[in-house]
């Protein structure tokens, strides 16, 4: 770049600066639900300014640009209208699209610039396309697993980590070679191919329960690859947007790994695929107490404080609207009802909040784990709907449990615990839950939606 900018370019750069500020404000306003929608407007305004600035800058060949923008909009609108339960796979898919864009632009720049390219530029370009490539296929795999097109369970084989390592090492070796010999242009597609393969093999061993972590991590990768693209194009705006996205993904990954009791390095290297040993052994006959909807309704309406603990099972049973009716019915009787949200409830960070908000449950009734855990001893009834492992007291006490050390919701400390569950079969992870055998636990056997519906009917009928 020359030191002197033309007048037109200065305007463009100022537009980019304003867009950067708007992007940062956009994220700042996300700190609270009351200001969050300003955040969208700021983001949209920044985006429009940046795109207009770019069009202004390069006054040429608008026809294909317009066609691509229209096509993208046609694809984007239905992706903005998916059901709230499908948001995780939509998010994974959009990580894939973002990474695809970055990889394609990087590839085009490679062929435009080589062989006259500085070593630094070639290094950043390699980072851009390798990170972009693996994020593209990795996100597609994650979306496939979430959409249940691909099997949810982890696929593992002997020496898997070694094979993955080899693929990545080969891609990086090619990158180093290209930095030293950028004229070897026919090696470039091979490097991308290896990155694409690595993305697939990275996600294959990961099970459905780990998806919140995986999505966050892919988010971080997508952001970092975009920042690398900013270095290549010398675009400050893109560096800033990529850095913001990257740090967001990183923070969410850290939160998720803590909530799953995985070390951060464990997450960084994608080794979250350990198959959880099923601790089904040593099952002596233990008794559980069960209750009918009538009994449950009587206990709930006599309670002063109720905490509902929803899990993804509630969303699978499509029970959230019945849960809202239950919330309404109990609130009308003067019962204080709140919802305890575990960080990994749902299939991506914050997913459960969205599902409950969709059912019109006020957000100030949704309380995070750390804030609500101290309140369980003073709670009359904890009602667990479709959650299992996140309520398992063995995580606190049983060092042999596969989930030992994972932070859980202390529902067992409530005066009465009620668990809606189809049967006594152990859950997804195959871990037995001692909560069900406690003296203060009542099992409510049945489909979540039907059972909550029956409780609501009982509450409605039993006035006075």
């Amino acid at each position: 770049m020359t030191a002197e900018l033309a007048g037109n370019q200065i305007i463009v750069e100022i537009l980019y600066l304003v867009a950067s500020v708007l992007f940062i404000l956009s994220l700042k306003w996300m700190s609270s639900p009351t200001t969050a929608r300003h955040g969208i407007w700021a983001g949209e305004a920044g985006m429009v300014l940046a795109i207009c600035g770019t069009l202004l800058h390069h006054g040429m060949r608008y026809q294909w640009i317009a066609t691509a923008l229209v096509l993208g909009t046609i694809i984007g609108v239905p992706l903005g209208r998916v059901a709230m339960t499908a948001v995780p796979q939509r998010t994974a898919l959009s990580h894939a699209f973002g990474a695809l864009c970055v990889t394609l632009v990087g590839s085009a720049e490679f062929y435009l610039r080589t062989p006259d390219i500085s070593r630094f530029m070639m290094s950043v370009l390699s980072i851009e396309v390798v990170l972009g490539g693996l994020t593209f296929t990795g996100s597609l795999m994650a979306a496939g697993k979430l959409q249940e097109i691909l099997p949810q369970r982890p696929l593992t084989y002997r020496g898997q980590n070694f094979v993955n390592f080899l693929v990545l090492a080969a891609a990086l070796a090619l990158a180093v070679y290209l930095v030293l010999h950028p004229e070897a242009r026919n090696l470039f597609p091979l490097m991308i191919l290896l990155a694409l393969i690595f993305g697939v093999s990275l996600i294959i061993p990961i099970g459905g329960a780990d998806m919140p972590t995986v999505i966050s991590l892919l988010n971080a990768y997508a952001g970092l690859s975009a920042a690398a693209m900013g270095f290549v194009l010398d675009s400050k705006l893109l560096i800033i947007a990529g850095a913001l996205d990257g740090s967001s993904g990183l923070i969410l990954s850290i939160i998720m790994s803590k909530a799953m009791n995985r070390s951060f390095t464990n997450v960084l290297f994608g080794a979250f695929g350990q198959v959880q040993a099923s601790a089904a052994a040593g099952q002596e006959e233990r008794t559980v107490r069960s209750a009918t909807p009538e009994e449950a309704a009587a206990i709930l309406s006599a309670a002063g404080k109720v905490i509902v603990v929803p899990g993804y099972g509630m969303a699978v049973a499509q029970a959230q609207h019945k849960v809202r009716e239950l919330y309404d019915g109990l609130t009308k009787r003067g019962v204080d009802v709140r919802f305890a949200i575990h960080p990994v409830a749902g299939r991506m960070p914050g997913h459960m909040n969205v599902l409950l908000a969709e059912a019109d449950i006020p957000y100030d009734r949704l309380v995070e784990m750390d804030e609500i855990n101290g309140d369980f001893p003073a709670t009359d009834v904890a009602l667990v709907i479709g959650a299992n492992d996140v309520t398992n007291p063995a995580a606190r006490t049983d060092t042999t449990s596969p989930i030992y050390g994972m932070p859980i919701l202390d529902v067992d400390k409530a005066h009465t615990v009620m668990v809606i569950k189809r049967s006594m079969n152990p859950g997804f992870a195959g871990i037995d839950n001692p909560l069900y055998y406690l003296d203060n636990t009542l099992m409510l056997f049945g489909d979540a939606k039907a059972f909550v519906g029956s409780i609501v009917r009982e509450l409605g009928g039993g006035h006075g």
Binding site: S31, G76, A108, L244, D245, S247
Partner: protein, 101 residues
């Protein structure tokens, strides 16, 4: 072409923006982590500007084709990302009456 000083400039911007990102996003309520992710996704699609330049400048056939696909992919993220974030945020309602602005 890029001298070492533009590299240093770029690194400065990257590191400082990363810090801002960390501090700003740490304060985002966990309540909104899903909309946060779809919003950052839409913002990240600002990569579209690089792709637009590729299509507009038409330096080679290959660059134009790759750029075209990249514009489509990024635009779908911008449109879809903002749409779904807005839909989600509209659902978050308080049980208390909304404070007057």
């Amino acid at each position: 072409m890029s001298s070492s000083s533009t590299l240093i400039n770029a690194l400065f911007i990257f590191v400082l923006a990363g810090f801002i990102g960390f501090e700003v996003i740490r304060r985002v309520s966990p309540l909104l982590h899903t909309p946060l992710m779809s919003l950052t996704n839409a913002l990240d699609a600002i990569a579209v500007v690089g792709a637009i330049v590729l299509v507009g400048e038409h330096k080679s056939q290959l660059a134009e084709i790759l750029g075209f696909i990249a514009v489509v992919a990024a635009t779908s993220n911008i449109v879809g990302g903002f749409l779904i974030t807005d839909r989600m945020l509209r659902m978050f309602k308080s049980s208390r009456p909304a404070p007057k602005p």
